[in-house]
Symmetry: C2
Subunit: 429 residues, 2 copies
C-alpha cells in the first residue's frame, strides 16, 4: 500500500493505491482517472489489454468520489500533476456514488457550508487544513523552544465576570450555571506563578451576534503568560511567535499556498522587527487620513485595516486608553490613563490577530479596578489570591488561530479557516 | 536574568534570579533560602557582609511564597538540590504574603482543590503538569510522524445523538439547543474521507453523575481516524502511540517521575507487542477467577482491573459483543454478534485508556443500526452522506489524556492529572 505523496519512492514498481475518484476522462481507447488519497493526487492510465477486460469496463461505471483500489506501475511523468503516473493493472471500485452534490462548478457559500463534511475534500479546503495543522505545530514548537509549559485551562467556568451577554451558559449538574470560557487568561496567570512561563491552546467561545467575516462563535486561541515579563517582553515574544509561524508555513506548506493561489510576498515580508506605534500615533494617522475618531475609543475593523495598510508587515499598536480596555491591564506609570497593552494587526486588512498586556500586580489596584468595572469580587477571590501570595509583574497575550490562518491563506472569511465553523446562523453539520 | 534550570551555564558568574520563596532556614549567622522560579529550585546563601546589611535584614521579613529578586554568584554544590548554590549579593523582596494557606503539612483534598490555583505551585503538581505537557507533545509528534493531519472537531454540536442525559446543553443564539461534544469521532470520519489520516485533540464533556477516581466532567482526548484502516491496523497504531508516549516521558521527564516517587518499572515494560485478547477470552479469565459475569455485558472498572492484572503492560481486549457497544461499530464478518472494536486497559488498575473500532461502512447497515438504537436519522444525514459518497472501510480510536497521565504519574485520582479539574461537585476555581 503506497501513499500517493510517496510514489517517488516506487518508480518502476508495482504499487497499490486506495482513494477516491477526483477526475475522469476518456481519449480514444485510453481512460484516465485522477485519484486522491488525502496525501496527494495521481493520474491512473487504463489501456485495454494492460488490465483485465472486466476491470477496464468498470471504468464506465465510475463517478466522482467513487472509492476504489488501484494497482499499477509507477512511471515518472513530468507533465502529470505530482510528477508521476500509474499504468493501471487492476481496478476495484468499492462504492460508487450517485449524484455527488459538489460538482466542479461554482456553488453558493450557503450550499457549500451545508455540505461542509464533503466540501473538505476539495483541494482548496484540504490545503487550508494542512496550513492550519502547520500553524498548530509551529506555535507549539515555538513555545516549547522558549521554555513554556502547556497548561490547559478549563472550558467550563463558574463566573460570567465580564457580563453574560456574550457567553454561552449551561446547567452544571446540580451546581448552578457554568459558562463556556472566552479566554484562559485568568487561569493561566495562576499557572504562571507556578511554572513561570506557560501557554494554553484550546477552543474559546463568544455568543456574539456579530455577523462579520472575522467572527466565529467557537474559535481556537493560543495564549501565553509569563511571570516577570513586561509589555516590552511580551511584544518581543508575540513578534517572535508570528514570524516563526509564518516562516514554518512558508517552509513546509509552499505547495498548499500555491493551490490557494496565495501571493506569498506579504508573508515573506513578515520578519522582525515589526513596527511598533502607540495608540496616540495610530489615532493621529487615522485623523490625518480623514477617519475622524476621538481619543479614548477602541479601534474597529475599519480603523485596523486603515492603520495596517501603512505597513508591509504586522504592526503592533501599544498603550491604548485604559478606559476602552479590560480591568486586568496594568496602567502605564508614565501616563496612568494608558494601559500597558498591545494589539497586533495583520497586514492586508486581516485585523487584530493578537491582544496582550501587562497585568495588574497590586491587590489594592486590582480591587479598585473591579469596583470601577462593577465586577463582582467573590467569584474572583482565587484570582485575587495571586496578588496576595507572591505577586510579581507578569504579562501575556492571546493569538486567534483562525484569523492568522485566514491571513496566511488569503481567505476572505474566517469560516474557511476552521474545519467545522460555528457562526451566528450555523451549527450544522 | 537566568532560569534556575540553566545555572550550570553560569558557574562562577554573577546572575539575577527571580522567583518565589520555597523554604527558609537560619543557621547561626548564615541564612538560607530556597527559591523556585518555575524552572527549578536553587538555594541562596546569605552571609553577613557579602550583601548590603539592609538586604540581609530583609531576610527576616520573608515568608513562604514571597516574591523576590536575588543577585548572586553561582557555585557548584553537589549536595544542593539541583547541584548549584547562589552566594547572595543582593536581595529585593517584591511582595511578602501573610499566612500562605498551603503549609508544608498535610491538607485534605477538598482544601487543596479549593486552592488549586495555589496548589499548582507544589513540586508534585508542577511535576504532573510537566509530564502532561510531554504527553501532549509526544502524541502530536507521533501522529505527525505517521502522516496524520490535525483536524479540530467542533465542541458545539447540534445533536444529542446518544441521548441527552450525559450531555451539557446550551442555547445556541436563536437556533435552538447545542450540546457540548463527547467525542469528535463522527466529524473526524468526515475529515478522514478528505485527508486520509487525521486526528483531533481537544476537550470533551460528560455530564455524568459518576463520582469515581476515573471520571471528570471535562477531559481531554486525542482521537485518530484513518481511511482504509482495519481493526488490526488501529490496534497497531494504538500500541505504537502509547509505547511512544511512555518512552518519551521516560526519556524527558525522569526528574519529574522521581519527584512523584513513581516506580518506573511498569512504564519501562510498556514496549510492543502489547498482549491482545478477545472479549471471550477476557470473560473466561474473569469467570475462572471467580468474578461471575454473563456474556454480553460490558466490563466495568473492577473487571478491567482484574483483566489487566494478568499482564505487565497495557492489554488490548478486542471484539466485544455488539450489543454492549455503540451503533457505529462494524460487525465481525466471522461472527456478526461481535464488534470489530478494541479497548486498551492500562496496567496497575488504571482502567481503559483507549477505545476504538472499525466503523460501519455500508449505508444500509448503518440505517439499520440507527433504527435498532432508536437514534434519529435526520440530524445525522451528513454522517450518512459519508456512506453515500465514496464509502471506504475506516477505523479510529480515542485516548483519554488524564487517565494516561494518571497512570504515568501513578496518581490515585484523575483530578490531579488536569490543571483545573471539573468534577461532579466541583467547578471552582
Amino acid at each position: 500500500m503506497a501513499d500517493i505523496a510517496r510514489l517517488a519512492d516506487h518508480v518502476g514498481q508495482a504499487v497499490t493505491v486506495r482513494g477516491w475518484v477526483h477526475h475522469l476522462r476518456s481519449s480514444g481507447k485510453i481512460r484516465f482517472l485522477v485519484v486522491r488519497d488525502g496525501t496527494g493526487l495521481v493520474q491512473g492510465v487504463l489501456v485495454k489489454g494492460q488490465l483485465p477486460d472486466g476491470d477496464f469496463q468498470e471504468f464506465d461505471r465510475l463517478t466522482l468520489e467513487s472509492s476504489l483500489i488501484l494497482e499499477g506501475l509507477v512511471r515518472a511523468e513530468p507533465r502529470a500533476p505530482g510528477g508521476f503516473e500509474l499504468t493501471v493493472t487492476r481496478l476495484e471500485p468499492l462504492q460508487i456514488p450517485q449524484d455527488y452534490p459538489i460538482a466542479p462548478k461554482e456553488h453558493g457559500v450557503g450550499f457549500l457550508m451545508d455540505h461542509r463534511h464533503l466540501w473538505l475534500r476539495s483541494p482548496r479546503q484540504q490545503a487550508i487544513l494542512r496550513v492550519r495543522d502547520e500553524v498548530f505545530r509551529a506555535c507549539r514548537d515555538f513555545f516549547h523552544g522558549q521554555g513554556f509549559v502547556l497548561v490547559d485551562t478549563p472550558i467550563l467556568t463558574p463566573t460570567a465576570c465580564e457580563g453574560t451577554t456574550s457567553l454561552f451558559e449551561t446547567d452544571y449538574l446540580d451546581r448552578g450555571k457554568a459558562y463556556l470560557s472566552q479566554s484562559g487568561q485568568l487561569y493561566l496567570e495562576a499557572a504562571a506563578m507556578a511554572l513561570g512561563r506557560v501557554y494554553c491552546f484550546g477552543p474559546t467561545f463568544r455568543a456574539e451576534k456579530s455577523k462579520t467575516r472575522r467572527h466565529l462563535t467557537e474559535f481556537w486561541m493560543v495564549e501565553a503568560e509569563a511571570a516577570f515579563f513586561t509589555l516590552e517582553d511580551i511584544m518581543g515574544l508575540a513578534e517572535g511567535l508570528v514570524s516563526y509561524v509564518v516562516q514554518e508555513v512558508l517552509a513546509h506548506r509552499g505547495q498548499e499556498l500555491k493551490i490557494l493561489e496565495r501571493d506569498i510576498s506579504p508573508l515573506e515580508a513578515a520578519v522582525p522587527p515589526f513596527p511598533r506605534i502607540s495608540y496616540g500615533e495610530a489615532l493621529a494617522r487615522l485623523n490625518e487620513g480623514g477617519q475622524e475618531m476621538a481619543w479614548g475609543e477602541d479601534f474597529g475593523g475599519d480603523e485596523e485595516t486603515l492603520i495596517s495598510q501603512a505597513f508591509d508587515r504586522p504592526v503592533m499598536v501599544h498603550r491604548y486608553p485604559r478606559q476602552c480596555k479590560a480591568f486586568y491591564m496594568e496602567a502605564d506609570a508614565a501616563n496612568p490613563e494608558l494601559a500597558l497593552c498591545v494589539d497586533m494587526l495583520a497586514p492586508e486588512g486581516y485585523g487584530e490577530i493578537i491582544g496582550g498586556s501587562q497585568r495588574v500586580a497590586d491587590l489594592e489596584v486590582l480591587l479598585t479596578r473591579l469596583a470601577e468595572h462593577r465586577l463582582p469580587r467573590e467569584p474572583l477571590e482565587w484570582y485575587l489570591d495571586l496578588r496576595r501570595y507572591g505577586s510579581v509583574p507578569h504579562s501575556g497575550f492571546g493569538l486567534g488561530i483562525e484569523r492568522l490562518v485566514a491571513w496566511l491563506c488569503g481567505l476572505k472569511h474566517v469560516r474557511e479557516a476552521i474545519p467545522f465553523p460555528r457562526l451566528l446562523d450555523r451549527l450544522y453539520p
